[in-house]
Amino acid sequence: MPELLSLSALGLVFALLLGLLRVLHGPGAGDRMLAIQLIGTAGVGMLLILSVLLNQPALLDVALLLALLAAVTATAFTGQQKTHHD
Amino acid sequence: MLTTQILYALTGCMIVALGLRGALLHASVLQRIVAINVMGAGVFMLLIAVAYRGPGLPPDPVPHALVLTGIVVAVSATALALALVRRLHAEQEDD
């Protein structure tokens, strides 16, 4: 089982690297933000695997927080600030 | 000597250097703020690597506590810097 888990962690890092290429290439800010969402989900997956592999149950909390805060940054990307006098 | 520890510590050094270079060379103030944050992250990585004791062993909690407070101070310093940028910009517009 540990072998399978470290292999899966490697698979997720590869998914992450592919996502990184999209972050670097863009072309638009929207593409980059989508890739960030993918990196976030890959990060959540890696933390879950690490939590079993390293026997650290607290990493599940980290994964949950990471998932929730990914949504916060997405809203930060879309929020439209009012101009000064309305 | 642990390979993992050395790997992360050396990466921390590299990130510090990258951040320092960016903070000194960038003309845009916002990017300098990002660079200083990167530099801080490198220092955090160094400290966490030093605290690591190997798989299955409890790490040293003191550097963890240091980094924890460091992260919170860094974000408040960033916010203060951004407020300064906004004010500077408002002053320039008035000119």
Partner: protein, 94 residues
């Protein structure tokens, strides 16, 4: 038996992650990439979670894993939608 099933689920999850990220990289435009992304989010993470939950065999851990999956599902569906709409708004230049 349970071990084999959980291994299959975990590997299938990783497969969908990879498929999703390849899609994100190869597909031509933002909107089709969005669909690729949902594969990784929904299927990849879902299968991975199911595999790990079977492996853990602990009720509290299973519940937490389920909660994480639901959070990711809801968050990623909405935020992908918001990002795409924002991108369209910027393209049309308003």
């Amino acid at each position: 038996m349970i071990n084999i099933l959980s291994s299959i689920l975990i590997l299938a999850g990783v497969f969908f992650y990879l498929a999703g990220s390849i899609g994100l990289l190869r597909l031509p435009d933002l909107y089709s990439r969005l669909h690729a992304l949902t594969k990784a989010d929904n299927l990849g993470l879902g299968l991975l979670m199911a595999g790990l939950a079977l492996h853990s065999q602990d009720l509290f851990t299973m519940l937490k894993l389920l909660l994480i999956w639901l959070a990711v599902l809801a968050a990623s569906a909405t935020s992908a939608h918001l990002i795409a709409r924002q991108a369209r708004r910027q393209e049309t230049g308003s």
